[in-house]
């Protein structure tokens, strides 16, 4: 038994850390957040060239076919540098296609998605938003999907309907996108209106993509773990140097307790995330509840970490100039994406109790 990364997983993580921190310095992230799409084609191409866009696609279709623990390790690093744009949505959508499409469709679609030449996202929520797949009510492909991540820069939208899973051309006929400006500016949301939109049916049953959504949830948790670690690091660094009353504020017990609680939360988030990835990878019977454990725990832990980070900074934590708020905004978006804590706790009650 070994709860830790294997050598090859460490290798993946290290190269992710190197790549993302070199290519996505925070100034670049801030610049992208101010753009309409938070997406830069050149950067996306670079990211794709390293294979990161095809992490969840099997090698047979041109992807990296990484195991999910490795993908999580890479996404933790992406979260640490707050990689903006459609990476997470793309990984989730491609996992969905890989999971539910026919062999023919996979061979047709996946290679270009693996190389990042094409970008995909997925659409679940409707005006009365629920992450319960049984609540999907929109007929194919007629109506509105809301809160769709990064739709504006994608080619395809994996769309859940009451008639099953459809692949819809994001720029095709009968598809209208409306921006939904939100707190987290690093990942833009859109409303997608379908009006007799032609779609390629990938599966007749939405349950075929439940696993892909669980993968997406887990990768979101991995990102957030990286973000929590970064907030902790920034904060510890600040309180070591910031002085009040003649000493570093980190020498005051109340500030140390804020930091200690961030540490406990961050390490716990990491444990929960890696286990969820492992359980999915191994198809353990408790995989779904492991994902819900991670998501519901981290919803609270990330908020605590963000709150403490701002608080420990004092006034400086409340400024635009300080990077904490970028992570804080993402933590807010995290809370509801892929289902909020109440949703996942109810799911635990159903699956595990």
């Amino acid at each position: 038994m070994q709860f830790g990364l294997t050598d090859s997983q460490v290798l993946t993580r290290n190269s992710a850390r190197e790549f993302f921190s070199a290519e996505y310095p925070i100034a670049e992230v801030r610049r992208l957040c101010e753009t309409e799409t938070a997406h830069d084609r050149k950067l996306w191409r670079k990211t794709a060239e390293q294979g990161w866009c095809g992490m969840t696609i099997p090698e047979a279709y041109g992807g990296m076919g990484l195991d999910l623990v490795e993908v999580a390790a890479a996404m933790e690093e992406a979260g640490r540098t707050l990689v903006p744009g459609p990476l997470l949505a793309h990984l989730t959508a491609t996992a969905a296609i890989a999971a539910c499409a026919s062999e023919e469709h996979k061979q047709r679609l996946l290679p270009a998605l693996a190389t990042g030449e094409r970008i995909a996202t997925f659409a679940v929520l409707e005006p009365n938003p629920s992450w319960d797949l049984a609540a999907v009510a929109m007929p194919a492909c007629e109506g509105a999907k809301l809160f769709v991540m990064d739709a504006a820069v994608t080619d395809y939208i994996v769309t859940l309907t009451r008639d099953g899973v459809f692949l819809v051309d994001s720029r095709g006929d009968g598809v209208t996108l409306t921006p939904m400006p939100a707190l987290d500016t690093s990942r833009k949301l859109s409303a997608v209106h379908y009006q007799s939109a032609p779609g390629l049916q990938l599966a007749t049953d939405n349950n075929a993509v439940q696993r892909a959504l669980d993968i997406g949830t887990t990768l979101l948790c991995a990102e957030m773990t990286g973000a929590m670690q970064r907030m902790l690091d920034i904060t510890v660094n600040y309180v070591k140097t910031r002085k009040q009353f003649g000493k570093p504020v980190g020498a005051f017990q109340l500030v140390q307790a804020l930091c200690a609680d961030m540490l406990v939360a961050t390490e716990s988030a990491r444990s929960a995330t890696y286990f969820a990835a492992y359980a999915l990878e191994q198809n353990l019977p408790e995989a779904q509840s492991a994902v819900s454990v991670a998501k519901s725990y981290i919803a609270d832990a990330a908020r605590l970490t963000g709150n403490n980070a701002i608080q420990a900074h004092g006034g400086m934590g409340f400024t635009w100039e300080n990077d904490i708020h970028l992570y804080y905004r993402r933590a807010k978006a995290f809370e509801t994406a892929f289902g909020d804590a109440v949703f996942h706790r109810e799911r635990i009650a159903q699956l595990a109790l």
Binding site: L125, N128, P129, L146, F147, T178, P179, M180, P181, A182, L183, D184, L189, A191, K243, Q244, F245, G246, V249, F252, Q253, L254, V255, R303, N307, I310, Q311, G314, G315, G317, F318, T319, W320, E321, N322, I324, H325, Y328, K332, A333, E335, T336, A337, D340, V342
Partner: protein, 392 residues
């Protein structure tokens, strides 16, 4: 114990209500939203203050001889609550009215009172405060902005941060170090500084919300005449601390009403979103309602105590801790009820109440930092109220 308003308190309240009915346009918010530009908006608010002043409702707590009406603390609370309840515009000269004015009345010279007070009331002159510095936040007494005497002027150099209304202010109540050799709480002096003086530079300070509610002030060889010292030279800590205590004790009254109105709105939203029947949501809403009630009752008790002859003391930190942490819990609960819609910002057709909830969610993080962090407030309670040793 008697929570009914006395006949004179009732008279005060009804008079104010009548005045508001006669003078506050029911569609002022729509009018205001149409005004373009920060300065023009500010002038609208200044005109409102002038109206309030003309009606005799500005600086009601001030003694009559200085243009106030010597209102009791209960009347002040009634005033704050009624203004909030009516959704009246903010008074842009609030810092002058609530903090600088009263401090000047206590510590100012006759000439200063003559020069400043009337214009504070009318809104003709707007005041800001220069207290915090980059390296003097919780440790305010560590401030480094200096003033050195040069004939009949002080020469001021240094930097202030977190100054509300800095960009709009005509005058600044500025705390400076006049004796660098004295222990840090000694050697401070309060100066009344003309913001149009050469060498004063006002820059916007952008918050995490994206707004620039505050400013940074830079002072480079700014000359301030010695007659603009408020109180005595090197006695600035005592002059300034009264202002801070007052801020802590009274800030809560308006906020209580604002949170209560927001709460009523979120109950409405829960109902319209079809969540009010959900037992989990009902528990959250009811717990929040109870917290708001407890805040209100705590404040009433504190004001009653002050009305019985007390001045605002360190126990004001109880109110500060309570409202700031409650507002954070409340905003979080509001987000939970709104679900994914809660994150949408101003300008989205899908956002609820044009994204004000998103702004409020972020803004609430500042509550436990501004006007003394929650950490400092707890240590104030520990040391000054419970008598434990000083721990910082």
């Amino acid at each position: 114990m008697d929570l009914n308003l006395s006949p004179s308190e009732l008279g005060f309240r009804d008079g104010l209500r009548q005045w508001l009915a006669d003078n506050l346009s029911p569609h002022w918010q729509a009018d205001f939203a149409k005004i373009e530009g920060k300065q023009a908006q500010f002038e609208y608010l200044r005109a409102w203050q002038r109206k309030v002043y003309d009606g005799g409702w500005a600086g009601i707590a001030w003694p009559k001889e200085f243009g106030g009406r010597g209102a009791t603390i209960i009347e002040q609370v009634i005033f704050t609550e009624e203004m909030a309840r009516a959704g009246a515009p903010n008074l842009p000269g609030v810092l002058g009215l609530q903090l600088v004015g009263p401090t000047t009345i206590t510590h100012g010279t006759e000439a200063q009172k003559e020069q400043f007070l009337r214009k504070i009331l009318s809104g003709e002159e707007i005041w800001c405060q220069g207290f915090s510095e980059p390296n003097a936040g919780s440790d305010l007494a560590a401030l480094r902005t200096t003033a050195t005497l040069d004939g009949d002027h002080f020469i001021v150099n240094g930097q202030k941060v977190w100054t509300s209304y800095g960009w709009a202010a005509d005058w600044c109540e500025l705390v400076v170090r006049t004796d660098p050799d004295a222990p840090k709480h000694k050697g401070l002096t309060v100066l009344l500084v003309d913001m149009k003086s050469p060498g004063v530079d006002v820059r916007p300070l952008r918050q995490m919300t994206g707004e620039t509610e505050f400013n940074e002030l830079f002072f480079t060889d700014v000359r301030v005449p010695v007659e603009n010292v408020l109180g005595r030279v090197n006695d600035g800590w005592n002059v300034a601390i009264g202002t801070l205590m007052h801020e802590r004790a009274t800030l809560g009254a308006g906020i209580q009403i604002v949170i209560r109105r927001s709460f009523e709105r979120i109950v409405e939203l829960a109902k319209s979103l079809g969540k009010f029947a959900d037992p989990i949501t009902r528990q959250k809403l009811a717990q929040c309602y109870a917290d708001i009630e407890v805040m209100r009752l705590n404040q009433m008790r504190a004001y009653s105590k002050m009305a019985n002859g007390g001045t605002p003391g360190p126990e004001g930190s109880i109110q500060k801790i309570f409202w700031s942490e409650l507002n954070q819990r409340f905003q979080q609960m509001a987000q939970e009820i709104m679900g994914p819609y809660g994150q949408l910002t101003k300008g989205s057709e899908y956002s609820i109440d044009d994204g004000i909830w998103t702004y409020n969610y972020l803004r609430a993080r500042g509550n436990t930092i501004e006007a003394g962090t929650s950490e400092i407030q707890r240590l104030i309670l520990g040391h000054f109220v419970l008598g434990l040793p000083k721990s910082y």
